[in-house]
Symmetry: C2
Subunit: 440 residues, 2 copies
C-alpha cells in the first residue's frame, strides 16, 4: 500500500519515551506503596459512564469541558475526576463496603479544555479518600498530612510545606462580621491573595460591596501569621464568638496536635488562613502543598473534608476527607525543572552479550540464573558484530553488561562490566548477581 497516514497525537495529550515512562512509573508506584502502607484499598471504575450519572453535580464549566457522545441509545461521558465516580461507587456498593472506607484510586481522567501549558486533556490523578458511615473522627484530618509528608519525603523533591486551614474558621468569621451572604464571593477573592497581592485583594473585596472597616478586618485576619500555636492563639484573641468559628479553631488545634503525633516535623506544615479551595463542597479541614523552591508549581497535593459525598445519589449522609496528587502535571513540572532523579533508564539491570552464535544457549542459561536471583536481565540475541552490540548497550543505558565468549563458557562464568565506571571482572553468576545488587 502506498497511502500513509501521518503518525501524530491529539493536542493536549502526551506520551513519554520509555526511560521517562520508567521514572514516571516509579513515582506512581511509590505513591501507591505509601497509600497502601496506610491501609487504603484500591478501586478502579470505568472510564466511560452514563452522562447523567457523571454530571449529576457538575456545573456549567465542567459540562463544557467534558468528553460526551452517544453510542447506540446511551448518552456517554468520560470521567473528568475520580471524586464523582467514587460517590457513584459508594452509593452503588454501600452494602458491600466496610466503613470507614479508605480507598485509593490512581487513574486517568479526561477534560476537553483548551490546551495550554500545564493543562492536559488526559491526566492521572492519585486520590485517596476516607468515607465514614455517619461520622468520621478528626484524626483522619491529621492522617492526610502524615501521608502527604511520607509521599513527598519519599519522592525526594526537596523541602515542601503542607498548608492547612479550616472552612469553619473562615465561614464562622464571616458570619460574625455579618457578611455570610457574601461568603462564597469573599472566599473566591481570598483564594487569590497570593497571586494578586494585598492591595488588589482589598480592592476586590471592596468591589464585592464590603465597607472599609470590614475589609480591614478581613485583611488583618488573613494576614495572621506565625507558627501553628501562635496562629491558633491569634485566632482566639480576635474575640469572635461565632460558634462555627470556635469549633473550627478547636478542630485546627486538634488536627495540629494529631499531626505531631504522626511524627510530621513542624517545619513541614503550617496553618494558612487564606486557603479556601475553590470547590464548594469542602466543609472543614482543607489542604494545599507547595514545594518551597518551586512555588510556581502551585499546589502539588490538595484536598479537604466534606460533609456529604453521595447526596446526588442517595439520602444517606456520608462524610469524607480526601487528597489528590495530579501526577501528570507534577511529573511534567519536575522534568522541566530537571528535578527527576531517574537513575535507571532500563528495566534490565544487565544486558548479556553473546560474542557469537555458539554462546547463545549459554547466555540464555546465564540470564535465567540471574533472573532467579531477582536481577532483571536482557539478552542481545541479534547476530551482529561486537560494535553494534556495544552501541545498543550504550544507547539503552543499561547499568551492566555481561560478555559471554569461549573463555567465559569454559570457566562457567561471565565477564561483568559496570557501564558507569568501566570496570570489568570475570565472575560466576552468583558473584555477578551480588555485584549488581550492591550497585543498586
Amino acid at each position: 500500500m502506498d497511502y500513509k497516514v501521518q503518525p501524530r497525537i491529539l493536542q493536549g495529550f502526551s506520551e513519554l519515551l520509555p526511560a521517562e515512562q520508567l521514572a514516571y512509573n516509579k513515582m506512581y508506584d511509590k505513591i501507591r506503596e505509601i497509600y497502601e502502607s496506610f491501609g487504603f484499598l484500591p478501586i478502579d471504575t470505568p472510564v466511560l459512564e452514563y452522562a447523567d450519572v457523571l454530571l449529576a453535580k457538575a456545573g456549567g464549566e465542567t459540562e463544557k469541558q467534558i468528553y460526551r457522545f452517544e453510542k447506540g441509545d446511551s448518552d456517554i461521558a468520560m470521567r473528568f475526576d475520580l471524586t464523582v465516580p467514587l460517590a457513584r461507587y459508594v452509593a452503588m456498593h454501600q452494602n458491600d463496603l466496610a466503613f470507614p472506607f479508605k480507598r485509593y484510586h490512581m487513574a486517568k481522567v479526561y477534560r476537553g479544555e483548551r490546551p495550554q501549558k500545564g493543562r492536559y486533556r488526559e491526566f492521572c490523578q492519585c486520590d485517596i479518600d476516607v468515607i465514614g458511615a455517619d461520622s468520621l473522627d478528626l484524626v483522619y484530618d491529621a492522617e492526610m498530612p502524615a501521608i502527604i509528608y511520607n509521599i513527598f519525603k519519599e519522592l525526594d523533591i526537596g523541602k515542601f510545606t503542607i498548608r492547612i486551614n479550616n472552612r469553619k474558621v473562615l465561614g464562622g468569621f464571616f458570619s460574625w462580621l455579618g457578611i455570610s451572604d457574601k461568603t462564597t464571593d469573599v472566599m473566591r477573592v481570598i483564594d487569590k491573595l497570593e497571586k494578586i497581592g494585598r492591595e488588589k485583594t482589598a480592592q476586590e473585596l471592596e468591589k464585592i460591596g464590603l465597607d472599609d472597616a470590614i475589609v480591614e478586618k478581613i485583611m488583618s485576619f488573613i494576614e495572621i501569621s506565625g507558627g501553628c500555636d501562635e496562629i491558633i492563639a491569634s485566632l482566639r484573641a480576635i474575640g469572635c464568638d461565632d460558634e462555627k468559628f470556635i469549633t473550627g479553631v478547636c478542630e485546627l488545634e486538634s488536627v495540629v496536635s494529631y499531626i505531631r503525633d504522626f511524627g510530621v516535623p513542624d517545619e513541614y506544615f503550617t496553618l494558612d488562613l487564606t486557603i479556601a479551595r475553590g470547590l464548594d463542597y469542602y466543609t472543614g479541614t482543607v489542604y494545599e502543598t507547595k514545594i518551597d523552591n518551586a512555588p510556581e508549581f502551585g499546589s502539588v497535593c490538595s484536598g479537604g473534608r466534606y460533609d456529604d459525598l453521595t447526596n446526588y445519589y442517595t439520602d444517606q449522609k456520608l462524610p469524607g476527607i480526601g487528597i489528590s496528587i495530579g501526577l501528570t502535571r507534577l511529573f511534567a513540572q519536575l522534568r522541566e525543572y530537571g528535578m527527576i532523579s531517574s537513575e535507571k533508564k532500563t528495566t534490565a539491570d544487565v544486558l548479556i552479550i553473546p560474542m557469537d552464535r555458539s554462546a547463545l544457549s549459554y547466555s540464555i542459561s546465564a540470564a535465567k540464573a540471574l533472573r532467579a536471583e531477582n536481577i532483571p536481565t536482557d539478552v542481545y540475541y541479534l547476530d551482529k558484530g561486537f560494535k553494534p552490540k556495544m552501541k545498543y548497550a550504550n544507547r539503552v543505558g543499561v547499568p551492566f553488561i555481561a560478555i559471554v565468549g569461549e573463555s567465559e563458557m569454559a570457566e562457567n562464568k561471565i565477564t561483568l562490566k559496570n557501564m558507569t565506571d568501566g570496570t570489568q571482572e570475570t565472575v560466576t553468576f552468583e558473584e555477578a548477581a551480588n555485584m549488581i545488587k550492591q550497585a543498586k
Copy 2:
C-alpha cells in the same frame, strides 16, 4: 436537593469490590514484574487518538465497534487495541528508540461490542512486543513462550500448554497444494477445527470449493500429532518441497530448540498445526495458550510474528513479535471458577485498635513503627465501643489486629492477635513486625 440520580454503570463495563481489585492488581503486578525481568520497557499512549490514525489499518468490523466522536474540529476515537498505538508510537519516535525495541504496555482498550458473556467494552490488555530495525532473530520467537511459561507458573492457575505453529508452514503447504488463492479461507476454517470437529471442518473445506483429495491432504496434515520432534519429522516426511514450507519447518525446529534452552519443560509447550490466528498480519511463529483444566477459557495468551508493524505510517519495514494477555477476561474467568488465590483482602497487614481516646497517640506511634518495618498498617480512629471495632476488623478481613490499652502502653507493647488462628500475644513493636512477616 431532592432529585436523586440512580447510581449505575454502563452495560458491558465492570468494576470490582476492593478485595477483588486487590487480587486483580496482584495479577497485574506479577505480569508486569515478569515482563520487566526480561528487559521490556514500559510505554503508555493516550486513550484518545485521531480517528484516521487509529483506523488506518482497521477493517469493517473494527470500525463498527469503535467509540468515535467529534469534539471541536477533531475526529476522535478511543483505542481498541494496543498494537495500533504501538505502531503509531514507533513510527513517531523511531529516532529516539533503540532497536530491538522491547516494550510492554498494560492498559485498557475500548470496543463498543454488543455486550455478552465474556465480552467487555472496556478491558485491560497486557502486551509485549519486540520490534526490530530490519531483522529480528528467531531467538525472540522462543523468548515469548519462555515469558508465557514464567507468567502462568507464577500466577499459579494449574497446568497450561503453549501451542505453537508457524504461518509459513501453513502457507507453504497450501502453495504446494496449488490452493494459495484460498489460503485465507482455508486458514479461517482450520482455526475452527477444535470448535466444530473433524467432520464439519472437512465439510467447510469442501464448501470453499476444494476437491476431495485436497481436503483429505489438508485433514491429514492438520491432524499430525505427537511430541515436537515427531511433528517436525512428520512434516519433513510429507515430501512438500515448497521453499516457504521448508523455511517454516526449520524455523519451528529452531524455535523448539531455543525454547528448551530457556528451560521451558517439554510438557508445557506443543506444536499445533491448526493454529492460524485470525489476524492477517502474522507471518511466522504464532502462539496460543490454554489452561489444561479449563480449555473453555479459550486462549489466555496469544500472539505471533509479523513482518511489518508500521506500514500504514512509514515506508520503513519494522518486523516484530508479540503476545497479549486479556487480563480483564482472564480474571473474570478465574473468579467464576474459584481459581483466584486471593489470600489477602486488605492492603494493611494489621489494624491497630486503641481501646479508647487515651490510647490514640500511642497507637499512631505504634503504626509508624510498624510501617518503618515495611508492615502496611491501619489504625481504627473512630471513638466507638470494642464490639463495633472488632466487627469492622472481621468485616474487612485484616489478617492481624493489635490492641492498645493501658497495660500495653505501660509495657511499651501491643497485643497482637492473629485473626486466622485466634492466637494472641503481648509483644514489642519489633516482635510484632517479625510475627506478621513470618505469617506472610
